[in-house]
């Protein structure tokens, strides 16, 4: 087992002691969400600004079923993953042909469309009221209403997701997606159906988003309207960028920093989005590459400072 995995495991164990269970749980949920996005953003080079479409759609569908037909947890998760994947396939079908700004705007606009559908379809989604009353059915005598039990469940799923994502990025698919990001014309010429692969990445990302969406709904017992809104889409992009989109682990660090930061700042000052905005601007102007790169830079700076001393006779 590598050092990174040990670090992640340590974080999983320590986090619930450091912050409240709900926030700790939400951090890992967000990390799952971020993992899905990063397959698109970091590996395929597609900046999707509409990830909450899949997150929200999965949360609504699974939430609805949890509420009305007493399905078990794993079925709910499976349904959420499926809904995430299918909605991603739909949106992806429209979007993968486009690139650059067009892609961003399309994912954004389609996200808005789903948002307004959820907003208006009050009989099912509850509109602005959200869809409350979602339970966490017990599984094998484990009562997930206990926050710690649920935390352990989510953390386990997160580790599973991370492992799956690691396998995916280390598989041929991961390499092919990177190749597409680097040079899609050449990838096509070498023999890959580029739109098809982009769609596949989209669907996998959607499945991860769907999983995160269901876990989120069960965490708070409600699917709030904002779960499908563009602010949510933005947040996951920003969390990933703040963490560093170049690395598999970037979104994990990002979601930790993002959620922890916005929660603690919001208690301090009511105009906290202003600070968040300032933070974004600072990251962009001075720390492009996010935490992962800032960390790497810090280390190389330290190494450089130490090196001369070591060489000196």
């Amino acid at each position: 087992m590598s050092r990174t995995w040990l670090a992640v495991l340590a974080a999983v164990v320590v986090l619930p002691m450091a912050v409240r269970h709900a926030i700790a749980t939400e951090i890992w949920i967000f990390a799952i969400f971020g993992l899905g996005l990063n397959l698109l953003l970091g590996y395929t080079g597609l900046l999707s600004f509409g990830q909450s479409t899949f997150f929200g759609a999965a949360a609504y569908v699974a939430g609805y079923l949890l509420k009305h037909s007493a399905i078990n947890v794993f079925l709910a998760l499976a349904i959420g993953i499926a809904v995430g994947a299918v909605s991603a396939a739909l949106v992806g079908y429209l979007c993968v042909q486009r690139s650059g700004l067009y892609f961003i705007m399309l994912t954004f606009a389609l996200n808005q469309m789903f948002y307004f559908i959820a907003y208006q379809w009050t009989t099912v989604t509850g509109g602005e009221d959200g869809m409350p009353g979602i339970g966490r059915p017990a599984l094998l005598a484990v009562d997930f209403r206990n926050p710690l039990a649920y935390y352990v469940f989510v953390a386990a799923l997160f580790l599973l997701s991370l492992w799956i994502m690691k396998r995916i990025v280390e598989s041929p698919l991961g390499k092919i997606l990177q190749a597409i990001r680097e040079n899609d014309v050449r990838a096509e010429a070498v023999g890959y159906d580029v739109p098809r692969f982009k769609l596949l990445a989209f669907v996998i990302g959607g499945a991860f988003s769907g999983l995160a969406g269901v876990l989120y709904a069960m965490l708070f017992g409600i699917v709030p309207l904002e779960a499908i809104g563009f602010v949510f889409s933005g947040n996951v992009v920003f969390a990933t960028l703040i963490g560093g989109s170049g690395s598999l682990y970037g979104p994990i660090i990002g979601s930790f920093v993002f959620i922890w930061l916005s929660e603690s700042v919001s208690v301090v000052w009511e105009r906290w989005p202003l600070l968040l905005g300032v933070a974004f601007v600072i990251v962009v102007l001075f720390f492009r590459g996010g935490c992962v790169e800032a960390w790497a830079r810090f280390w190389s700076w330290r190494e450089r400072r130490r090196a001369p001393a070591g060489i000196a006779p």
């Binding site: 067009y102 705007m105 606009a109 208006q120 960028l241 989005p273 974004f280 962009v284 492009r288």
Partner: protein
């Protein structure tokens, strides 16, 4: 027409500068608030209507110079992060400066009341806005299509290096394009204020629509943005009459439908 105006400004910035400007809605709101303050400062609607968008353009100038210029070479992700952060700052800034509660701004007295057009009673101010927006769109279009500057900007869309080889300062050109885009957002906001009033959230409300207009019109296609703005305005008005619940979602549905048929947008070439 207002949609067209918004779309035009955004299309200019996204198309010419290749920057996803999520702060465009915030600039729109700032335009409205500048108008409000300017009226209180100079006591004259018309003068304020001239001053407010110029103020927004100046703000745009500063933003471009200080923030956007270093980002042309960075990826869209960072540009997006920046403009989104900017929109948060501007939006919250409005609350800090003008307070969280909205205002009403009456039209100038000669434009109050309405005209009976026989089949419909229509407020004079709305007619004025339509004419103004039409004129502005026309002026912008003429400026970009018929003058040397317009040609330069369109050339800049295609090939920055070549433009600078002709002795033209591309940076200044882009600053000007951004300022012009900000100006259009600002004047759209100022013109809207007497209709929809002012509130800190007005920018966010408008942003989604502006993006749809640009996507539909084709990136950087100014004429397309105008046409898309009109189409969306009409579609929304018609749907609101028959199926009110859908009047917002329809904008996006129309977009999705058109993009299915024409993936490059209505008039897109790329």
């Amino acid at each position: 027409m207002l949609y067209a105006l918004m779309g035009l400004g955004l299309s200019l910035i996204t198309g010419v500068l290749n920057i996803p400007n999520f702060a465009h809605g915030a600039l729109f709101a700032v335009g409205a608030y500048f108008l409000f303050s300017a009226i209180h400062a100079v006591g004259n609607f018309w003068l304020a209507l001239v001053l407010a968008p110029v103020g927004v353009a100046l703000l745009g100038l500063v933003i471009e110079y200080a923030g956007i210029r270093p980002l042309y070479a960075a990826g869209h992700d960072y540009q997006l992060l920046f403009t989104f952060g900017l929109s948060l700052i501007l939006g919250e800034g409005i609350i800090v400066v003008w307070g969280p509660i909205g205002f009403s701004q009456l039209p100038p007295s000669i434009l109050r009341g309405g005209l009976d057009l026989g089949f419909i009673f229509y407020p004079k101010y709305r007619l004025f806005v339509m004419v103004m927006a039409g004129l502005l769109v026309l002026a912008t279009w003429l400026f970009l299509e018929k003058t040397r500057y317009g040609a330069i900007m369109r050339a800049g869309i295609e090939n920055k290096e070549m433009v600078s080889l002709l002795g033209i300062d591309v940076h200044r050109l882009f600053t000007a394009a951004f300022a012009l885009g900000a100006y259009l957002a600002g004047i759209a906001g100022a013109l809207t204020a007497p209709i929809r009033g002012l509130s800190p959230s007005m920018g966010v409300d408008m942003l989604g629509i502006a993006f749809v207009v640009v996507a539909l019109g084709g990136l950087g296609n100014l004429l397309g943005a105008i046409a898309a703005g009109l189409i969306i305005g009409v579609a929304q008005a018609v749907v609101a009459l028959y199926w009110t619940e859908a009047s917002v979602a329809v904008i996006f549905a129309v977009m999705a439908a058109i993009l299915l048929v024409r993936p490059q947008g209505l008039f897109g070439i790329r």
